[in-house]
Symmetry: C2
Subunit: 562 residues, 2 copies
């Protein structure tokens, strides 16, 4: 069953992460002054795949793609929105969570990547709250089960209707033999700090918890009678808006459709190019920095809008990563390359730094931060090749630090008169883009040498050639052109011969040296356990809970504890 490949609905042949509100089937985004409402109204006949119906506001990846899009637009298109009400447009149901038929019929790889993306989307809500003063209120008007409650958990405040029947629940363990895998368990004990024994009770009661106990156990923040609900929500929105530091204009920047063209062996965006070598199972992502003149003013930057290179490149890179993750399982290695004039890239970084308090620059940098975090948890070997003509400067240099390995060419390549490659640190490498575990990539890289990451600030804006970059520990290997081709080829060939599963586990462990945070715990402890369970016959076997759900037959479990 787990390998029964589902068909995408409507004859589609890949999962598209691009959408816009005019195409939403499941959400309605409306804005009134400082308050936006994201109303979930899942079209049960518009599932991403064939073979199931999205009843009761249950969701699949397609629903979450729209949510992620809406959240991104709230950041860029609605800089004045301080509060977002997350509501259901359906009666007596908030959200029934991930669709069980969808899960039951999905391949392991889809389940894992579905959970990863939904986790990232939930994190982006918390990121908006923490960094852009955009607070979220979940208005739970009826059942919030499983992923539905996990959605509420990602908000700042959970207001639940006191109608005698509405409950919040995480019924996965009892009903489906899997975990609430979209951050639920971690958020219950680490964010809402529900006492662990209460959490144990809550997560094993199919029907969930309602009423005063839900407040007392910290599962929700408020319980409000039906007649007072709307007034209370309005008041709560005002309270949160008053505390928000968000001070954007009423007009934001419209995120226009990406310029994206598919070809047989890859795809092309405006400044990102993806070349897929199917035989070697390698995707090469090349990011090009234009020579374009910088905006003359902040107004001009806003006028450039989604064509402003730092934003355009972030969107294109984000789409690339999601595309590869979900549509190209056969790709095992991602190579990052960059092209352009280092002076241009440096200028963009300096420009963003200088305008860091401008709402648009602020949002761009936080978006780059999230894109880089997405790369960190991408289960592909990541390699950076720093060659003549490349442009690993500041923000783009983070790609080299996110990579599992980087190679830099010493000097020039025979027959190529371009100057030797340079790597440049900018202020952006020292705090703008923390990883999910809270450290910058340089801090995590140089855990052994206290103060080294900070000392590197002396090199800000200096062009570092390969010897220096290697000496400073910024690249893994510096190779001359005699060794380059051979060493890189042997490495890539060897890498692609290893078990993809073992590499995934290896990389997930080595990339995050140092502390863990709630966010990183979700991708480590919770996700890894869920992935384990997603392979166990008790969940996904023919007699397992996912297959038997709704059939009237009880699952047959192997009762041995591992």
């Amino acid at each position: 069953m787990t390998d029964a490949k589902r068909k995408l609905a409507n004859g589609k042949d890949f999962i598209d992460f691009q959408t816009d509100p005019s195409r939403y089937r499941h959400w309605r985004l409306s804005v009134t002054g400082e308050v936006a409402t994201l109303a979930m109204d899942v079209d049960e006949n518009a599932g991403l795949y064939e073979g199931y119906q999205l009843k009761l506001n249950s969701y699949d990846l397609g629903v979450d793609i729209e949510l992620a899009d809406a959240l991104l637009r709230l950041r860029f298109e609605h800089p004045n929105v301080k509060v977002v009400l997350l509501r259901s447009a359906k009666d007596r149901v908030f959200c029934a969570g991930a669709n069980i038929r969808m899960l039951a019929g999905s391949e392991h790889s889809h389940k894992v990547n579905f959970c990863k993306f939904t986790n990232e989307t939930r994190n982006s809500m918390e990121d908006a709250s923490e960094h852009s003063g955009q607070r979220f209120i979940a208005v739970v008007n009826g059942t919030a089960a499983g992923g539905g409650y996990e959605l509420a958990l990602a908000t700042d405040r959970i207001i639940m209707i006191d109608d005698g029947s509405t409950a919040v629940s995480l019924p996965e363990v009892a009903l489906l033999a899997v975990l609430p895998g979209t951050g639920g368990l971690t958020r219950v004990v680490d964010k809402r700090m529900v006492r662990r024994d209460h959490a144990d009770v809550f997560c094993t009661i199919e029907e969930g918890i309602k009423g005063r106990r839900a407040v007392k156990w910290r599962l929700i923040d408020e319980l409000v009678s039906p007649s007072k609900l709307e007034n209370r929500v309005t008041l709560a929105a005002s309270e949160l808006a008053a505390k928000s530091g968000r001070e954007g204009p009423s007009e934001g920047v419209k995120l226009k459709a990406l310029d994206r063209k598919f070809r047989a062996d890859g795809l092309d965006y405006g400044c990102v190019k993806v070349d897929i070598d199917a035989a070697q199972r390698i995707a090469t992502i090349t990011i090009r920095v234009p020579d374009a003149a910088l905006p003359a003013s902040a107004d001009d930057m806003v006028k450039q809008g989604s064509q402003f290179w730092p934003l355009q490149s972030a969107r294109e890179l984000d789409d690339t990563i999601l595309h590869l993750r979900n549509n190209a399982y056969e790709v095992g290695t991602i190579i990052f390359k960059t092209e352009g004039d280092p002076a241009s890239a440096l200028a963009f970084d300096q420009y963003l730094e200088a305008h860091r308090d401008h709402w648009f620059a602020h949002e761009i940098r936080h978006y780059w931060k999230r894109v880089l975090k997405r790369i960190d948890v991408t289960s592909r070997t990541l390699v950076a090749l720093v060659e003549p003509g490349s442009c690993f400067v500041g923000t783009l240099a983070e790609l080299a630090f996110a990579a599992d390995r980087s190679y830099m060419l010493l000097g020039q390549m025979q027959g190529d008169n371009r100057p030797p490659a340079k790597l440049v640190l900018t202020r952006a490498n020292f705090g703008a883009y923390p990883m999910s575990h809270g450290l910058t990539r340089l801090q995590s890289r140089f855990l052994a040498e206290q103060g080294k990451a900070a000392a590197l600030e002396q090199n800000i804006d200096r062009a570092l050639e390969a010897e220096q970059a290697e000496e400073l520990g910024l690249v893994t290997f510096a190779l001359d052109d005699i060794d380059w081709a051979n060493e890189v080829r042997v490495f890539l060939e060897e890498r692609t011969s290893f078990s993809p599963d073992a590499l995934t586990g290896l990389e997930a462990n080595l990339r995050f040296a140092g502390p863990e945070t709630m966010e990183s715990k979700i991708f480590a402890r919770l996700t890894a356990w869920q992935n384990w369970i997603f392979q166990r016959p008790n969940a996904v076997g023919e007699e397992g809970a996912l297959a038997r759900y709704g059939t009237g037959r009880r699952p047959a479990y192997d009762m041995r504890r591992v």
Copy 2:
């Protein structure tokens, strides 16, 4: 293949965690003054199971059981030993790691529990170093591969012979399609703080890294020529001994054989009793506190030796947990009960607290800490039943805090004239027994209420009845005798009906609210990923790397990345 149950060697029908140096087949423990030598000399014909030979100092669980025993004896029997040399008694090989044939032929459950135990054993080396001034030096005289290098990683200093061929390596990913799962990946980047890209290179080079690069990359501490090795080891031992705070007498406390009797439905120790209800899949562990008079003096405590109740109970409980984990997979739930006079238990705790600087009391408390940590990572539902006649006081109350849930009886049981149950906090609940993630169980329990754990100190040594214990959040439910039997029965029945895998994942996530440390990362991030990989066909399938290792046939991998 993964379900091909192996036969234990020599007709044994369970894995015994009890041993003593006279029975060691794989290690030699010798002591000269302040320096002990633990020499690994694996008897290749003395594997725990039939069907493989432990060549080249490769190991299985049986080898690690002896190591764990030796480490415990070093704490108690050798209070004057300040430095332990971890060496190989074989020529040109330090340790080849976990035996691959053993892994290839093991059930998933055995692999998982084997890794868990070896991780705990490595942690106990670090615990000895940090808390008892017993420093470890690995003397790497030849190949230290996989688990062999992981063993070295658990020491304070790694000295490697510079013979031109000796290397350290973690070849698991390349050779076996699994992870170095005994803490290796985490220790490489979090303990030794090897740069992540260097770690990536190291962990994918089958032959490992030798010579100066091993030092430069922080994989080892020193490289010493063969002719100078012995002198250097002696000197390093003196250096570390000089810095140790350990000041025990030359005579320690002999750990006598446990008094343990198996019966059809459980087993009995001196003060611990285990009753297994096979139909319900529940093991009830009852710990009895004796009325025995306290030792009149510290000398008298030492004279009581391994019969001193706090030590005896820790050893018996430790053996119980290990026995259930490894020999009773069908048991899904562990119920903790206690028996005895709360005044006695309180007196023991106060006695240990008063003598906390005495080496023997110090070791006992740290041993209890490790036993409690072992319980925290035990993949069984843990329940505490606090009833009349029970004795959940201080150290024993930690069992209630380690439990996923606790039930306490309000008042008396009809027809039972014993006084109502009491729960008592002692000083020991406020720091003596931190969890692997660094917090006490009370701190982790009350994460939501800053200062609450500390405020509870006001209740030290006070007998708390059920209402108070519930009010203070120390038990999950307080029930009167009308509800008790029914509620507890329904809970246990329901619990045992759930998927064991989902419960394992649930509990592993809810038990560790708060920060993560290197130690907890090993049991979370690393272990969970390894468990995932241990189920993947690329590792354990018929064409997978474990099955094909040594056959001359290359494994056939499903190359899709999940």
